[in-house]
């Protein structure tokens, strides 16, 4: 029998059992609207690209990493110095994490500003907020794993912050640390979060997020929608996917260039009894919160300054989560004010970040 005949047989065997052709038909018919703001459509798949790189390099790092008090720092040192090309794998993992977080921020700000979350896409936004927190949690837990001075102090601070939450705060801190203090147990626990709990959590919300996007199609910005004329469209397959692949290729090139020329450092192993080193700071994506905690006074009108700061951050997060419901009249004055808040947030975060670096 000819190979073409075999191929046909295999195809119909699969089709009979899976009904996959339905999905392929959907992807062939999917259209991507073309307008001034189409560029932002590429940010989502850029995040997926970096996430895929994280998964692959993460699998590789696990082969050599040792999540214990005694072995963590030494095993990372071994990856950096002895394991063939280990330094590049770790560098790519570290940089790809930053790139992913950066694109998560760009992605969500573009959605905030173009108001892509408006009805009926509220749930897409909310699942996205969970993805944002999963990504930040990945970064936070991953930062501790090399177990050097900087990462220890950043983790002590980060896990102590929930303590200011009334009632449950103390328990949250204990849950994160695996006890009263940051110890070897914390390291093992963070490793568990990083490689098993967070991946499942993130993949579950990613599935919901992507499903909702497919169900509802791409959002069109308010301004473009009002013009009322027939919008230009691009077929998702193959036109849009090829363009995305060009973007992926460029981003991968940038990622590897940075990773090769600027590999992450590794300080000496953390000492639980040593004083915090000077100039400690968390990773860049937490710097604006770090600076806020630093400048908050100890007491504000009889209230503990930290409690107030944590409360403010918490309220901000709640408002952020429910943003599509708050911003329910996007074309009116209220909607415009909320767009201005997005720009103010960018200015605030950038200014605080720069301040913390001074």
């Amino acid at each position: 029998m000819s190979s073409k005949g075999n191929h046909q047989k295999l195809h119909s065997w699969l089709e009979e059992r899976s009904g996959l052709s339905e999905i392929f038909r959907f992807l062939r018919e999917k259209k991507i609207p073309q307008h001034r703001h189409s560029l932002w459509y590429y940010t989502g798949s850029a995040i997926l690209l970096f996430f895929a790189i994280q998964v692959i390099t993460g699998f590789l790092l696990v082969f050599y990493y040792n999540p214990t008090l005694e072995g963590a720092n030494a095993s990372v040192a071994r990856i950096m110095t002895e394991v063939p090309l280990g330094w590049i794998i770790r560098s790519v993992h570290s940089w790809s994490a930053s790139f992913m977080i950066a694109f998560v921020f760009i992605h969500l700000l573009s959605i905030w500003i173009t108001k892509a979350y408006r009805k009926p896409r509220e749930l897409t936004w909310m699942s996205g907020v969970f993805l944002l927190f999963a990504s930040l949690a990945f970064g936070f837990t991953g930062y501790l794993l090399p177990w050097d001075d900087l990462s220890l102090s950043a983790t002590k601070v980060g896990t102590d912050i929930p303590r200011s939450i009334p009632l449950i705060g103390v328990w949250v801190t204990k849950l994160l640390r695996g006890g009263e203090d940051v110890t070897g147990d914390t390291l093992t626990r963070f490793f568990g979060f990083h490689v098993s709990i967070l991946p499942i959590f993130l993949l579950a919300f990613l599935a919901v997020h992507v499903y909702l996007i497919q169900k509802q199609g791409m959002s069109i910005p308010v301004a473009a929608e009002r013009k009322d004329e027939k919008m230009k469209e691009l077929p998702f397959w193959p036109n849009f996917v090829y363009r995305e692949m060009v973007v992926w290729l460029i981003l991968t090139g940038i990622l590897f260039s940075v990773a090769i020329f600027l590999p992450p450092s590794l300080d000496k192993a953390a000492d639980l009894m040593a004083p915090a080193p000077e100039g400690i700071r968390p990773e860049w994506d937490f710097l604006f919160l770090f600076q806020m905690l630093k400048i908050f006074p100890a007491k504000i009108l009889f209230v503990n300054g930290d409690t107030l700061a944590v409360l403010l951050i918490f309220l901000g997060v709640v408002a952020f989560f429910f943003l599509p419901l708050i911003d329910n009249k996007p074309a009116e004055k209220k909607g415009k004010i909320i767009t201005v808040i997005a720009y103010l947030f960018i200015v605030y975060a950038v200014a605080m970040t720069i301040w913390s670096l001074l």
Binding site: G179, D181, G279, I280
Partner: protein
């Protein structure tokens, strides 16, 4: 179906009963999980150290010891007495250090300052450093937590 004078139907009653069972079952499964994830506290009631290690300290200097999984600092004061601190910042838990020239404790994480008695004097710390009780018993230095007999 609803019997006369009854507050709810048979369906509501059975659903409530079943829901209650499921709730109780879930709670009974959650309890051991919660017990498991919180390990017992590790802070010691007391730490006993050989006094000979600390006898020859100079005035206005510190020496560290392990207070469970936290660092402790023993400070020799100007009058020759000793004070023991838990060397953890009361702001956000970073380990502090003592700067003898300035006679201050310092936390590098968020620029927190304490005077030589551990009182918070600058930056974000909301409370003084925790102090521990010291007693010298023969050749032993016994460091005890507050509130322990």
């Amino acid at each position: 179906m609803k019997i006369k004078h009854s507050l709810f139907t048979r369906r509501q009653f059975l659903n409530g009963l079943l829901g209650g069972w499921f709730g109780a079952l879930a709670a009974s499964l959650l309890y051991p999980v919660l017990k498991f994830v919180f390990p017992p506290a590790r802070e010691p009631d007391q730490v006993i150290l050989p006094f000979s290690d600390f006898k020859d300290m100079e005035l206005n200097t510190i020496k560290s010891f392990a207070w469970g999984s936290k660092p402790g600092l023993l400070k020799k004061n100007d009058d020759g007495s000793y004070t023991a601190f838990v060397a953890v910042c009361t702001h956000l838990d970073c380990n502090v250090t003592y700067l003898p020239e300035q006679r201050k404790f310092f936390c590098a994480c968020h620029d927190g300052w304490y005077d030589e008695n551990g009182t918070n004097i600058g930056g974000p710390p909301p409370r003084p450093l925790r102090q521990l009780y010291i007693s010298i018993e023969g050749e032993e230095l016994v460091i005890t937590r507050e509130g322990v007999e």
